[in-house]
Symmetry: C2
Subunit: 265 residues, 2 copies
Amino acid sequence: MARIVHVDDLDDPRLADYLHLRDVQMRLAHESEHGIYLAEGEKVVRRAHEAGHEAASFLMAPRWLDGLRDVLDASDAPCFVMSEKDVERVTGFHVHRGALSAVRRPAPADVDDVLAAARRVVVLEDLVDHTNVGAIFRVAAALGFDAVLLSPRCADPFYRRAVKVAMGAVFSVPHARVDDWYGTPALLSRHGFTTYAMTLADDAVSLEDVGDVPERLALVVGSEGPGLTEHWQRSSDVRVTIPMAAGIDSLNVATSVAVACWHLR
Amino acid sequence: MARIVHVDDLDDPRLADYLHLRDVQMRLAHESEHGIYLAEGEKVVRRAHEAGHEAASFLMAPRWLDGLRDVLDASDAPCFVMSEKDVERVTGFHVHRGALSAVRRPAPADVDDVLAAARRVVVLEDLVDHTNVGAIFRVAAALGFDAVLLSPRCADPFYRRAVKVAMGAVFSVPHARVDDWYGTPALLSRHGFTTYAMTLADDAVSLEDVGDVPERLALVVGSEGPGLTEHWQRSSDVRVTIPMAAGIDSLNVATSVAVACWHLR
């Protein structure tokens, strides 16, 4: 059972995992050094637990204790309890739905293992926005894609904001980060995947005209600003575009993935 | 030509339109009282201008002046110039892509006029998240929907965050706010629209099975948490659901609209 620890001192060193929640750089440095991620909100804290992830600690105002009683009962980690106001002071942040948990990051999955078990993969090249990464996990989970591959520089799916937007789908959808990004198109081929590269290029195939969906499909999308790199556009089996109304330059990347996942389901 | 006004005093009363950018309640009160909205970022400032909206003023660091020269040349409004740091101090906010403009809100459109001119309408009931409202305008514009109807309590499409996420689509997609929300299903019928209500209900028609798309279509979505009210579910012609993988409870509302707009295009 989690030890309930009432904390009055905002500078208590045991709260180190909960500082600077608005500062992405500091968080990523702290989290990678300490091997944790942050689950925010009662539902996400619960889903992290249900996914078998181990809490390092919890932080919440008293009124959230009851709702999470079973999760706390199943854990040996300390549960720091403060007023809502103090939680906000520590985190620098108004925490929606009160509860937080610092959770031990699971060991990274092996790329070959993930690909061997998957039939529909979303491949993310250098996305910078954690909201987009989280949204894509949620879409993938809902629309029957069963894995996500991340480029070396793609935003972290275990960053608080991504975890929250994904509603826990980063726990359930297998994913792996690739080291050799240049060699990834060939890797996907070796695993039997046909790669569809999403692009705005005029000469790409319209999503409406792609025809029969291959047995194993990798849907590849590029960074929010520049889109997919030339290397990937050249190395993919099919370049696909979503036809849009005149004068509209693009859809958000997560929206594009949703439309494509739906169409190719 | 806009008057360039260098401002050193952070308390200069002429900056009143640019204060408290992070405080939604204060902004909405200020903006409705003063009849302005806030365009953020070079591209959005330009699109507001291209849409024929009149700037009340601009605020930017010197390095953005050149890129917006033609927009400034076409305006009589003052352009307040400060260092990036001071802009951040005034707004309480790191302004991405530097330039801001307080823009006069256009007169609200008449609901009957908007409906008479439209064939595909998205109807939003009580959405609370400005990001979702902006994303839905962007999706509607890209995927061939030609109007948006808003419930009385739906989040403001001219709120800064909505304008930004929409990438200016709130300027180009005709929209109107309805007074008599209870009577809106009947209003849509009178205008010849068939209403599709998006729901998670088990007994709704799968989006895959809706068949031929009606000549005039209103796609209705409800609030982020509770979804569409009973009244709308009962009053709509068809209740439609997006089939999802087992164990996934829902898609984000903007994502759902994207999938439905694509499927029904």
